[in-house]
């Protein structure tokens, strides 16, 4: 009995050593941690799915671990500690809180781990690199669409994200930068609906009552709220096509609404952000010889140049989704 146990142990140890040796012989997979602020929104869910679709993750060159920050900067902070302890090779970081995010980055960088910011910026110069879409620019594109659609004159309402979140702050700045130049566009109302379709629905119903026949344009700081506004307009028995409605993100429901001519959405390209960040992380780990593997660099070409993967900042362009290109965009965001 004793003998068998010992034999078993020896066998086990032997096989471990053997496994260790054999994996050391092949190229060791790069351990990448993706610390994202929360997986409970459609956008972040899709975002991490694209990360998992990166060619290097699929062929085993990268061992990817996703950390769900559960919308709590404190949770993200703790997760960074455990990522550092586990000696990951690189971190892809999507912070919830701009300021709290900064400290976390410095901690990892001083432990010698490159940190690639993505999607939402952390307020830190220490970031190895940043890949994202400029929210300020996204807001400006939204507002410009409304201005053009209304011919530079009319009444609009703005549905805002949770006050103080970087998406809300930056998109609003972009929206206002355009509207300030057009004094004939009047902002009737501006209030938060916390990115929520249900909240935006009730808010828009009340606004339609408070300003009967006056609202001509709706600017949603995200798609969900713009869709809520569409439901409110329908519930009030009005014609959605009499309104100029715009949102940001390019979630599936919004692409469908765009196809029906009910709204216009501005696509924030989750695939380009996620896979771009992965390529830059791998460039930081493997060095100069690394060539980007994702097809997003080819897709955008000159609009998003690779530049050896060592730039501080990569701005993923926005794409306006209208009736004309809705089918094409839908294919792009669903095809894996």
């Amino acid at each position: 009995m004793k003998l068998t146990k010992r034999t078993l142990l020896a066998l086990l140890l032997g096989s471990c050593t053997f496994a260790g040796l054999s994996s050391a012989r092949a190229e060791k997979p790069v351990k990448v941690a993706a610390a994202v602020y929360g997986l409970r929104s459609e956008f972040m869910k899709v975002w991490t799915d694209w990360l998992k679709e990166h060619p290097e993750v699929k062929n085993g060159g990268v061992k990817l671990t996703v950390f769900d920050g559960r919308y709590d900067p404190n949770v993200q902070n703790d997760q960074f500690d455990s990522i550092i302890v586990q000696q990951f090779d690189a971190i892809i970081f999507v912070p919830l809180d701009i300021e709290a995010g900064g400290r976390t980055v410095t901690k990892a960088i001083s432990a010698g781990i490159p940190v690639i910011g993505a999607n939402a910026r952390a307020n830190s110069k220490a970031l190895t690199s940043y890949v994202g879409s400029n929210d300020n620019e996204g807001g400006a594109i939204e507002a410009q669409y409304i201005v053009d659609k209304l011919g530079g004159k009319g009444n609009v309402v703005i549905l805002e994200g949770p006050i103080g979140q970087s998406g809300q702050v930056e998109r609003l700045k972009g929206i206002m930068s355009v509207l300030d130049k057009h004094p004939d566009i009047k902002i009737l109302e501006r209030k938060t609906a916390n990115w929520s379709r249900a909240e935006a629905l009730a808010l828009m119903e009340n606004w339609l009552t408070a300003h009967p026949g006056k609202i001509q344009g709706v600017i949603g700081e995200n798609d969900e709220m713009a869709i809520g506004a569409i439901q409110a307009i329908k519930a009030a028995g009005l014609n959605v096509k009499d309104f100029a409605i715009v949102g940001v993100d390019g979630v599936k429901d919004a692409i469908r609404a765009a196809k029906g001519g009910e709204m216009v959405s501005i696509l924030q390209d989750a695939k380009a952000q996620a896979q771009g960040a992965m390529d830059i992380a791998l460039r930081a780990v493997r060095g100069e010889s690394y060539q980007p593997q994702s097809d997003i660099w080819k897709h955008y070409g000159d609009k998003l140049p690779w530049k050896d993967g060592i730039q501080k900042n990569y701005d993923v362009p926005w794409t306006i989704i209208t009736e004309a290109n809705a089918d094409e965009v839908m294919k792009m965001v669903t095809n894996k």
Binding site: R40, A198, N206, W207, A210, A236, D253
Partner: protein, 338 residues
């Protein structure tokens, strides 16, 4: 003294009583004042708002207020039963989301199930969650706060697992009717609220089961001594609250045209607020469903009114919080029990 109070609770829900001694008459007078106080407060609020906004008292806006109150009103009616039985249900927001997602998954796709299948499934999921709450509380003696806090987390988790974190759009027209349809110009969600109110008003005031709920909340031990199957009553009460949360989930899903996994977060707090504003004692045994309806309407009117006036939502939260605390300060039952 103690027996006296429990007697009051056993024989008199909130209305007057012939048999109870003077104490109960004083209490019932106070309750009476409090009940009408709520209605008076509601109408004063409406008068104030109609003076400040010309649109407040228009038929369209009244319909809006009712439609926006419907979901919270339905949740709050379920919550009233639970709180009357001296319990609390923190899980209604999560159960609402789970029911909504399950119903949406059946009502979507190329060949959606008929609406009644999705509706039955949604109500069934809510009922099942509620029954689990009731069984854990009554059979395993877990405090309601803890048991339903657990369900809050479990049901939300199941919602994300089932939906994989993604919304479920593309619902069939017949299902959408639940949230967007109208009968004689009245939106369907409002009719659901009205029906729920009438049914549960009858249950609480005209049935033996209703009396039992008051009795269990007033004094569980006396109720048991009096031969009431208190555990069965508790299981039924939580089951009904869960089913009403399921109904809320169906309406919300149809209204937003998609099953949304993050829907209903912190809805339990608005439901509890409506019950408390409506004069139901958190100590159980005292309260009415009519009070709850007005409590929900007050919350709906405040949200709507402050939107019409263009007041920041930050103030909205402050006002709502103050009203809840004031309502409890006015709670007559509090004086007798503390």
């Amino acid at each position: 003294m103690i027996t006296n109070t429990s007697n009051v609770a056993l024989t008199t829900p909130a209305t007057g009583s012939e048999s109870a001694p003077s104490l109960s008459r004083r209490q019932s007078t106070m309750t009476y004042v409090h009940q009408y106080g709520i209605i008076v407060a509601f109408f004063l609020l409406c008068v104030g708002l109609s003076l400040s906004s010309e649109y407040f008292l228009t038929p369209k806006n009244i319909i809006n207020v009712l439609r926006q109150t419907s979901i919270n009103g339905i949740l709050a009616i379920g919550m009233t039963l639970v709180i009357l039985a001296r319990g609390i249900d923190l899980s209604v927001g999560s159960v609402l989301a789970l029911s909504g997602i399950v119903a949406a998954s059946l009502a979507t796709g190329e060949t959606p199930q008929p609406a009644w299948v999705a509706v039955t499934a949604g109500l069934g999921v809510g009922l099942a969650c509620g029954l689990v709450n009731g069984l854990v509380i009554s059979r395993l003696s877990v405090p309601p706060f803890v048991a339903t806090l657990g369900m809050l987390s479990v049901a939300r988790g199941l919602t994300y697992i089932y939906s994989e974190g993604m919304p479920i759009p593309d619902l069939s027209q017949s299902f959408l009717w639940l949230g967007q349809g109208r009968i004689w110009q009245i939106p369907v969600p409002v009719l659901f609220l009205a029906a729920t109110f009438i049914i549960f008003w009858v249950v609480l005031n005209k049935t033996v089961f209703g009396r039992y709920i008051y009795a269990v909340g007033g004094n569980e031990r006396s109720a048991r001594t009096a031969g009431i199957g208190t555990k069965k009553v508790l299981v039924a009460v939580y089951g009904l609250a869960g089913m009403l949360a399921g109904l809320g989930g169906l309406i919300l899903t149809a209204r937003t045209t998609a099953g949304l996994p993050q829907a209903g977060q912190s809805y339990e707090l608005d439901a509890i607020a409506a019950v408390v504003i409506g004069g139901t004692s958190l100590n159980g045994g005292v309260g009415t469903i009519r009070g709850t309806l007005f409590g929900a309407l007050i919350i709906g009117v405040i949200n709507n009114g402050l939107d019409l006036l263009g007041v920041s939502s930050f103030y909205q939260q402050v006002v709502k919080g103050c009203i809840i605390v004031c309502a409890v300060l006015l709670d007559p039952a509090r004086r007798f029990r503390d």
